[in-house]
Symmetry: C2
Subunit: 186 residues, 2 copies
């Protein structure tokens, strides 16, 4: 496991390969000269083209206003290689600390948004706010993934899936049933 | 692995324990004397209390109108014990077959909704439509979980997480970092 997985461009409609399984993601943001990172487990794919995702960002999070006001963020996919960092990020607030420096994470410039990529993550999805219709009522943001980067290897990294109560399930082992799918269902 | 996991009542706000990790679920429905089942991977927790979940049900699914018109469904959590059944359900349409009988699944009555529980699943979440505001624009349904049932054992069953392309990741192995969480964060 290298500290900086080497990434390539990924077609944005393939983001589902990484997000649909439901992993914890690290959401990075930038607003008025400052960055922040939060953990997020409440998200879903909404559409392939445009590549839409929806997610719940509680208004209690320091990131909430930064993301709402900038209309941008990056979904970064961590693996079990940085489990303790993920836990630390989820248990601290950007109101108190600079999370990149505190956790020794490396910010890299994104292409389409001002929020930074986290280099230690397996994949990065640059997001732009697509529809704010449910932000006020549910804190639910609808983003378009405008640029995607992913490490080609390993193809199925060990990801973290939060169950509450401090416990994560780990995905990584796979089952293929490709032969049982009709081509148009793949 | 018994064919019918023995279930107990679960407080509805603990549904996140099973749904937040992002597994494929089997969504059962009932409308005008007929039942149906679909696979669903595009869902997210939205709130603990009330216990809200959001999900994307494409209007191309036979279940779409049944669920929209009845305003009800059940989220059933399958495990790897019935992987092939999950694949079969996702690759067939309720317009052509009766999925309960075709796949040899057992319907049990729910308590709060008319849609049936699938007994072979590890957990069942009875859902009532809570807000239809995004159905027309995104096919996005917001449900309240009004009753939850779950097998106490195993505590972390092997669940299926779809990546597209006929490939599922499997969760089951866990990592606990409970000691690193402040009590109010659990």
């Amino acid at each position: 496991m290298t500290a900086f997985p080497a990434k390539k461009d990924l077609p944005v409609n393939l983001a589902r390969r990484y997000l649909e399984p439901g992993p914890i993601v690290l959401v990075s943001s930038f607003w008025q000269g400052k960055t922040n990172i939060m953990t997020l487990g409440w998200h879903t794919v909404l559409e392939f083209t445009p590549s839409l995702i929806g997610c719940l960002i509680s208004s209690g999070n320091h990131s909430f206003a930064m993301i709402r006001d900038s209309g941008e963020c990056v979904f970064n996919l961590p693996t079990t290689a940085i489990t303790d960092t993920v836990v630390g990020i989820g248990n601290t607030s950007g109101a108190d600390i600079d999370k990149f420096s505190h956790f020794g994470l490396t910010a890299a410039p994104a292409q389409q948004v001002k929020a930074p990529l986290i280099r230690e993550c397996h994949a990065n999805f640059e997001c732009r706010l697509y529809d704010d219709v449910l932000i006020e009522r549910y804190n639910f943001f609808i983003f378009e993934i405008v640029k995607a980067h992913a490490a080609p290897s390993p193809k199925h990294p060990e990801t973290l899936h939060y169950t509450g109560d401090g416990v994560f399930m780990v995905s990584g082992k796979i089952i293929s049933r490709r032969q049982q799918f009709r081509p148009e269902m793949l």
